[in-house]
Symmetry: C5
Subunit: 334 residues, 5 copies
Amino acid sequence: MMLKGILWGIAALIYLCSPELYAQYVVDTSVSINKIYGVNTVDQTYKVDGYLVTSWYEPDTTYRPASGERVYENHQAEQLMNAGMWVPAFEFINIIGKRQTANMRLVITADGRVTYNERFQGLFTTEMDFRQFPFDHQIFELIMEPFSYEQAQLVFGSARIDIETLDNQSLSEWQMQGEPEARVSRSDYAHLQSGALSHFSRLTISIEASRKPDYYLWRFILPLSLILVASWAVFWIEGFSERLMTSFTMMLTVVAYTFYTSSLLPRLPYTTLIERMVIMGYVSIFAAILVIVFVKIREEKGRPVKHVIPRCRAIFPTLFLIAMSMLIGVNSGL
Amino acid sequence: MMLKGILWGIAALIYLCSPELYAQYVVDTSVSINKIYGVNTVDQTYKVDGYLVTSWYEPDTTYRPASGERVYENHQAEQLMNAGMWVPAFEFINIIGKRQTANMRLVITADGRVTYNERFQGLFTTEMDFRQFPFDHQIFELIMEPFSYEQAQLVFGSARIDIETLDNQSLSEWQMQGEPEARVSRSDYAHLQSGALSHFSRLTISIEASRKPDYYLWRFILPLSLILVASWAVFWIEGFSERLMTSFTMMLTVVAYTFYTSSLLPRLPYTTLIERMVIMGYVSIFAAILVIVFVKIREEKGRPVKHVIPRCRAIFPTLFLIAMSMLIGVNSGL
Amino acid sequence: MMLKGILWGIAALIYLCSPELYAQYVVDTSVSINKIYGVNTVDQTYKVDGYLVTSWYEPDTTYRPASGERVYENHQAEQLMNAGMWVPAFEFINIIGKRQTANMRLVITADGRVTYNERFQGLFTTEMDFRQFPFDHQIFELIMEPFSYEQAQLVFGSARIDIETLDNQSLSEWQMQGEPEARVSRSDYAHLQSGALSHFSRLTISIEASRKPDYYLWRFILPLSLILVASWAVFWIEGFSERLMTSFTMMLTVVAYTFYTSSLLPRLPYTTLIERMVIMGYVSIFAAILVIVFVKIREEKGRPVKHVIPRCRAIFPTLFLIAMSMLIGVNSGL
Amino acid sequence: MMLKGILWGIAALIYLCSPELYAQYVVDTSVSINKIYGVNTVDQTYKVDGYLVTSWYEPDTTYRPASGERVYENHQAEQLMNAGMWVPAFEFINIIGKRQTANMRLVITADGRVTYNERFQGLFTTEMDFRQFPFDHQIFELIMEPFSYEQAQLVFGSARIDIETLDNQSLSEWQMQGEPEARVSRSDYAHLQSGALSHFSRLTISIEASRKPDYYLWRFILPLSLILVASWAVFWIEGFSERLMTSFTMMLTVVAYTFYTSSLLPRLPYTTLIERMVIMGYVSIFAAILVIVFVKIREEKGRPVKHVIPRCRAIFPTLFLIAMSMLIGVNSGL
Amino acid sequence: MMLKGILWGIAALIYLCSPELYAQYVVDTSVSINKIYGVNTVDQTYKVDGYLVTSWYEPDTTYRPASGERVYENHQAEQLMNAGMWVPAFEFINIIGKRQTANMRLVITADGRVTYNERFQGLFTTEMDFRQFPFDHQIFELIMEPFSYEQAQLVFGSARIDIETLDNQSLSEWQMQGEPEARVSRSDYAHLQSGALSHFSRLTISIEASRKPDYYLWRFILPLSLILVASWAVFWIEGFSERLMTSFTMMLTVVAYTFYTSSLLPRLPYTTLIERMVIMGYVSIFAAILVIVFVKIREEKGRPVKHVIPRCRAIFPTLFLIAMSMLIGVNSGL
């Protein structure tokens, strides 16, 4: 009697540690990614094109061929599934809308192994942090679960992830970092049954990549830096009107830059590194205008301040360099 | 006889108060929202991705399994529905177009409980008020009704709403306020039958959220404020031509700002808070030009007005601050 | 014999006046509009989301229920139609592409009444006249005909149109004028049969609406007016170079305005009211430049014209006001 | 024997001249165009919405009704075609993607006449020549062939084309020229069979239309002309710096014009009339700058050239008028 | 015994060299391209519209007609495939999403030849190198493989590629170079089976084309060159303020050019030829500003440098020409 209880306890322990021992179906998966593209910073989405291969042992012998293997493509595979063959529906948790399936295939072997293979394309979403943009790196994820079958019926077994090298890596905007990872875990839902949690097996694929900042360096950071440096020339100009009008022209140039940026950068509730640089540009030119007007007011009142303008020739570049190095050094949240 | 009448009256009263006692089917619902995104201010629309779980008791025993529960996915579920199983079509009243259903599932238990579950994505519309933009808050709604079955046949029972925390809340543009709400009510239609009202049970899900204004503060309100403040420098410039040309440059800068804004802001029949700020900018610079030309005319006529320009150095900032505080204080309809 | 002829004549007369007496099917319609949105001025299109309810008496008793009514939704209704039940296809004549049908329903009563109900969304087109833009009003139309059945087989009977008040009318760009109208008429086609006209019953739904011009007033007409008024300041400036450069800056500002407008306004083969205003702006500044150069030439030749510039200070505003009032008063075709 | 040969020769001759005598099916067509819109100059595409009516004699009596005619709509028509009724698939050769079919109908008469009718919408492509843009005229074409049946089995018989007058012609950008034309011809393909040509009957519908240039005249050519004319004012300005800065401002204005144009005009490998005008603007202002600097250099070297600038006041307008008239007169390929 | 081994060795050798001798099905292909368009530089994609003809010998006689050939179109062909007829699914490896099939056809001859023909449209991707843009040339590829059948079952036999001359080659942006090529090879996959490679037959179609640079020459390179040349005029201007303000105006003009470019050019992680030209423009104007300020500083300190500015009149054009010729001569990766 006692022995029986101990045996049951061991069984329960084994179950908690390795649910695949008890699940009705253990599904091995292999995902191969062709291309990740169309990264949309505003909605935090990206498109993935790839292959999904899932495979399990089917005890039911109804659809097994006498020998070898039998291949069913597209409509023929659908007919089989409609006729009642067990092929679970998988869903990507972090997909937006529906995935497009260009082709699908069902292979059944004489010894009961079923392999379902499809080429899919979908729009996925994940948390993206653009605070270091354009020096950011992101983790592109695919999170997959069976749509209907809980952990008691279906668990993910071995998982494998491949990245195709179809695209010339030296030409694309993103550079993969480290190895892609496939992880099996469990997720719990409360909304499916009232008063009870549902447990689903979950497969998470993560690909870490860093952005190549070249485009933004050459087309954005370099010219903006030159404009800001050029704006300091205002302190060598003589005459109040000339100084002011030159500053206003610089201001207009930076405003124009802002418009250009807004088509380039995401509309985020926080500021990216590149935006902080633009804000610095604004503030710097505005400070120059304040200095110029202040000097003018003092002159009008008969108390000229000779040294302010010449000193600014050194102060502005110094402050700018300090601010720049802080910007690069600190990952501040502003 | 009399007693019977009283009993009928009580029954009618109960019916009016609690239609679910009499309806043929009582449908419990549970909606789980993954993501609200793609808020379009012009058409007043937003996209919702989520799960819809509906559940009811089916007295007809035709499709019940002998024991436990039976799961039908996608095409298999469709076949069952085509064969005649009662699964009501639900429609979102405030949807635009058709909802996309990535996966669907029908679960039937031996004791007659039917659960229909789908993942959906759709474009929804609701009244949005952008008068306080970018400091606005909106109520995102999903209004659902059975497409064909009136209240006598189908009423919504218990309703539940969950919001997934998949997305990092600190990174998105909207911040949820309070708890999401699910409310069951009744709606009446006149266009379905001539001379009679049709009564439908209605489920309304409301999610209140406020916009994080950071993007607009840093990229719009701050630089525009700096430009407006800088425009007052015109009153320190001497010489009519210089004053005028500087004012014109400022005008051009604000015009450039307007173009930028029009890609940022909705095209609404009323003015948003941010637009009123731009209009103030226009009017302020125009007033400065009027003052400058007025002073010039008086000079030409030999009646110079010495004090106007210096006084403007104080009057313009003061008026601007008053107007700004009114703008923030008052929710005027302009 | 004679009597018979007279009777036939009367019958023919009745037929001509009231075709529904003789048509095989009289279809009553009821259209309920949820939302009209996405008005595209270039293609002259708009999107409509609504319900279409059609109803007729079916003499064939095959599909009638024994008693009460029977409801068929979506796929079940399609199966019935495929099996041979007569449900006519309706088409919107002025639709672009195909309408999307989110849900559909077929109700058949024991006494032979068939009601077909669908929720539809489509892109419609109609003649739009933007000459008075942004003070224009348009008639949004839905023109419906049976796709296959001529007047001898199918005529529209009673027609009803409802506009949902789901959207807050005070917030949208269009304001409905008067009552929406549903009109039944006849249309004839020559391309279906060689050498013979085909007659179809036609249902026309018209909704008249006027645009709220507030957005264009605040964001376009007011700033442009201020710029034009400011451009007259050029006549107070002294010195040829200053005058010319200020005029050029104004010209550049109005050019910038044109770019802004082109994203705002339709690209039409005629000029809208707002465009005529921009053209006036161009021509006015160009005329100022001509005057300035003319005065300069006369000066160079030693015949200075003292009074031209001062007079322009009065002439330009006067001409502008006259042109403006003409623009508003006259609906010229330019 | 000889006679037989001659008879065969005659038969072959008749066959070559009139293949429809021998083809198994002669298909009469009638196309009715509702709307041509969405002309995309870059991809050389346009959208067409219309009706396609095809009709032929079917010797097989399987599907003929006993008397009168029988109408099959949409799904019912599809069922008939799936069951094996001969309805050939037609394809538009110059379509992009797939055509959308909103409704389709099959009418079979007791005497064997089959009429297939559909409403279609598609994106079509044709050679477009924009060298005279915006004074160009284009030929919109629809080229149709049977997808599978060669000339021996199917030839087009009579062809008819109608243009609906639904759209108010005075309001659209294109004006139809002459009568639309429907032409039957033959096309040969080598890629279907190795070593043999396949012959298909082809129906070509051509609609010639010319663009109304009003929009481009008022919004582009007029203001650009005014700017160019205004740029000549630079020759009346005195002082090297003023001349140069005014010229630079004009250059900036024309650059701004180029940006505006690029959203307005196609990105073509050849220059359109309107682009040649912009290039003339560039070159003209650049020439003025060259002249100004040349005069300056001569002055510095102590050999002033008094007459160059005054002469340019006449030379530039003259050259511009000559270039303009050449541009309009000659259809050069540049 | 020994003989047998040798024979086997020879057989294996033949197999390795010519797998089609042993494959169950040898599929001959013929691809005809109508149009390549919509080249998207950012995602490195293009759209292809064409016909795919595949043909093989089917030993199974079930579906053979008694004599001649039998044609099945669209739905009828699908029914045959659903019924079990062997028609392999092909997939384009480098497609994005799913291809659209407007029409398809199955032809079966009495002697067992099966021909599958479809018209397809799809979005394809390939490596594109824009370093020489707009003087680049690209290779447009279509890579096709059977979706399910490995080399043992299916190999590609003869392959043929045709390019339709429907489009007027003189009007499109791309000019085909040399002959298009169709190549059969083998590809191996590891992700389909654990621990084993799968071998598939692969058909690669390559079309080499070079871009016609006319648009970019006239609209971009010419005006930018003129602006840069004009910017050297700054060295003839006298007075520090005038020099600086003119330089700033030029800087603003080039900044405006950058905005214009960013809508014209891809956002790539490397710089294109045209971008390097813009960067040169920036740097050149910035260098001029540095020189101007340097001269000013020396003047202020009482050590004027007379010869710097006049020498720059020659140095800047010289350096520019050297840089330009280097840019054109060298295909540097920057």
